[in-house]
């Protein structure tokens, strides 16, 4: 059996910018099809699975994780062969300048270049460039040459290595939310105490679109979004702005920028974690958001919970996860199935 970390690595290696999740879905389907009773792709591209457990639960349970990642979309090709682009999902321009990207399914390498610092005015050094002024250089010398390789509408991902960081962490791209997908794949590959539904969703980063359809189709009693959330336990950040910390276990949210969570489920998660001796932390700021907001209002409504991995530098080419958090989150999710099935 592949380890969770290897599984994250494998899933993160696949490009899957919002609206172009197909290769990720194909990979996940190949990993889970032997382990579930039902598996289908819906109209929007969500992959929805049902797995029988030892018992039927009292509550219909849905676990969701989104397959898409933030990235870029090619908007225009200049006469000189340079590509203009815009962001898909929220990306700070400062993490884009000077980075490289891989475009389209063939992963064509391109540089988000910027003139040499010797040519900058003092003002230019300080100011963040206008996103519309940036371009991707693929080496083409003309529009015709570029068009042989790229079309407007093609997606691009950050080029990013997957590397060990210290003894306990990993560094890479798209942990948001392939790490959540990996946890769900592992759950599907394990023996479950209760029947569960799983949704690997599309277009979370552009408005939690996929989860609207998945929530409608499954209509769960309880929906658990398995996500990554901001950890800003980094130098120079005051304690009240830290949000969550690496190595302190899964993050369970009471409220974020998109959702007020079910308060009983919120407390239950901590009770279960304590009983099972799993470290667990709360999200200590009302910020960000995830597809729980779509799941909460599906049909007549679902009770929602978010269980997230603390992750540094989200929406950049360099996400950081703590390996122990991944293991602890997996254990908490298993324990929650036992608990919520009986609830």
């Amino acid at each position: 059996m592949v380890s969770l970390i290897d599984l994250i690595r494998e899933l993160c290696d696949i490009p899957g910018v919002s609206g172009w999740e197909d290769p990720v879905r194909e990979k996940i389907a190949s990993l889970v099809q032997e382990h579930c009773e039902e598996l289908h792709t819906d109209t929007l591209g969500n992959l929805i699975a049902f797995k029988k457990g030892a018992q039927r639960p009292k509550n219909k349970l849905l676990f969701s994780a989104h397959m898409d990642e933030v990235g870029f979309i090619i908007t225009h090709i200049e006469e000189d062969g340079l590509l203009r682009f815009t962001s898909v999902g929220g990306i700070d321009t400062r993490v884009v300048v000077g980075k490289s990207v891989e475009i389209g399914p063939q992963r064509l390498y391109g540089a988000v270049g910027s003139k040499a610092l010797h040519l900058h005015t003092d003002k230019e050094r300080e100011e963040v460039p206008d996103r519309d002024k940036l371009f991707i250089d693929i080496g083409a010398r003309s529009r015709e040459e570029a068009l042989e390789h790229v079309q407007p509408g093609d997606r691009a991902i950050f080029y990013a290595p997957f590397l060990p960081l210290g003894e306990n962490c990993i560094l890479g791209r798209a942990f948001d939310d392939r790490a959540g997908c990996a946890l769900l794949v592992k759950l599907l590959q394990s023996d479950l105490p209760f029947d569960c539904h799983f949704a690997f969703t599309v277009q979370e980063e552009t408005g939690c679109t996929g989860a609207v359809a998945a929530g409608y189709a499954v209509a769960p009693d309880i929906a658990i979004a398995v996500e990554t959330t901001t950890a800003s336990d980094i130098a120079g950040v005051s304690a009240d702005k830290v949000v969550s910390r690496l190595g302190k276990g899964p993050v369970v949210s009471f409220m974020d920028g998109g959702t007020v969570y079910d308060s009983q489920l919120y407390r239950l998660a901590f009770d279960v974690a304590q009983r099972e001796q799993i470290p667990c932390q709360t999200k200590s700021m009302v910020a960000g958001g995830n597809e729980s907001r779509s799941l909460q209002t599906a049909k007549a409504g679902s009770r929602v919970m978010a269980v997230s991995l603390p992750c540094r530098y989200l929406h950049s080419p360099s996400n950081v996860l703590h390996k122990q958090d991944v293991e602890d989150t997996y254990r908490l999710l298993h324990a929650l199935i036992r608990e919520l099935g009986n609830d």
Binding site: E78, D80, G90, D92, R94, V95, V97, G98, K99, S100, L108, Y109, G110, A111, G113, S114, K115, A116, L117, H118, L119, R125, E126, E127, V128, P129, K133, F135, D137, G139, R141, E145, H149, A160, P161, L163, P164, L165, G166, E167, N168, C169, L171, T230, S232, I234, A235, G236, V237, K241, V243, A287, G288, R312, Y313, L314, S316, P317, S318, V320
Partner: protein, 346 residues
């Protein structure tokens, strides 16, 4: 003939930050060995005596710097994050969320420049922080960090060396390993020639922090003539056209008060004769390259400057055209031969 593209990619991949050039020097020594006796100067530069002939004949020095810009660890914080300074001109605009690799004694240590999460920036005007306001995260507590890195260790932005479409190579450190590659190309062209002058190649250290490598090695070599081979700006839409050359349009011959006007003119004449595409780069004062150091060595050295057009200088995306590198090599070889002719009757 040598595989120029592969040498560019290999040179880009090795580490050699200003003042700690060993890995790059090791590769450079291997590549220079077929052409002459190679040795490492105490200041870290690499020297190769290619031709040794009549001591009265001109002695030409071909220089390209082998060091690259990077970062240097200045302090380890209580929470294990690193404070760093630029080792050479780091572009502060590109650092956020950039992976880095630190060339530590125990081997490579990976890290990332911290970026600011959106909840701390929303509603605020975004600025590029200065290098000394930033932190590098190596995923360690202070104790773990101290076991892995030491203040003074250097690092680079993690960057693959890659090809783009056409004949472009893209990666870190091509400023100025592209220059080193052009000199190797010239040596390959000259390898069947009988020595027509004294010829020494210098892959110099520490250009990015002031040119100490070229200054000290040039003193020791004591050449009569020199050509510094460096990179200069290739135009992109965000840059002023008048200050740039064009990628793929050939070497840029430098003109500047500190350079020998005769050499600059001769380089242009030779390019025309040999049908080598070339461009000019005119500077009103010093050149900001090793040419400034070499020209003022001892009682003065007649010095020229040839630059390879490069996009995105001082980023991990430095991009050069293989044709420009090879044409620079051709021009250098033509100059070497012309100097031999001139020297008849020393």
């Amino acid at each position: 003939m040598m595989n120029t593209k592969q040498i560019l990619l290999d040179f880009s991949a090795v580490t050699g930050i200003a003042g700690k050039e060993e890995q790059a020097v090791q590769l450079g020594a291997k590549l220079l060995e077929p052409y002459g006796k190679v040795r490492v100067h105490p200041q870290g530069s690499l020297l190769c005596r290619v031709w040794e002939t009549d001591p009265a004949a001109p002695h030409l020095l071909l220089d390209a710097h082998i060091d690259e810009i990077g970062i240097i660890i200045t302090h380890i914080e209580e929470d294990g994050f690193l404070r760093v300074a630029g080792c050479g001109g780091m572009d502060r605009r590109i650092l956020m969320a950039s992976p880095v690799v630190i060339d530590a004694r125990s081997g490579p240590v990976y890290g990332v420049f911290c970026s600011t999460p959106p909840h701390l920036t929303s509603g605020k005007e975004l600025k590029n922080p200065k290098v000394d306001e930033m932190y590098v995260d190596i995923g360690c507590t202070k104790e773990q960090a101290e076991q892995r890195v030491f203040p003074g260790d250097r690092g680079t932005l993690y960057a693959p060396s890659r090809t783009l479409l056409g004949d472009a190579c893209c990666g870190k450190a091509l400023d100025d390993r592209a220059g080193c590659t052009a000199i190797l190309y010239a040596l390959e062209l000259l390898k069947e020639d009988a020595p027509c002058c004294n010829l020494t190649v210098l892959f110099s250290s520490m250009e990015e922090v002031g040119g100490q490598g070229a200054k000290t090695a040039a003193y020791e070599i004591s050449p009569t003539h020199a050509i510094a081979v460096d990179v200069s700006f290739a135009h992109t839409p965000d840059a002023p056209r008048a200050k740039c050359g064009l990628l793929g349009e050939g070497p840029m011959v430098g003109f500047s008060p500190i350079l020998s006007h005769a050499i600059s003119r001769q380089l242009c004449d030779l390019a025309k004769e040999e049908e080598i595409p070339f461009q000019t780069e005119v500077m009103g004062g010093k050149t900001g390259t090793n040419a400034d150091q070499i020209a003022t060595t001892r009682s003065g050295v007649l010095t020229g400057l040839v630059s390879i057009p490069q996009k995105y200088m001082h980023t991990p995306l430095e991009t050069v055209s293989v044709a420009d590198v090879e044409n620079t090599g051709r021009l250098l070889a033509a100059y070497v031969r012309s100097l031999g002719k001139e020297g008849k009757g020393w």
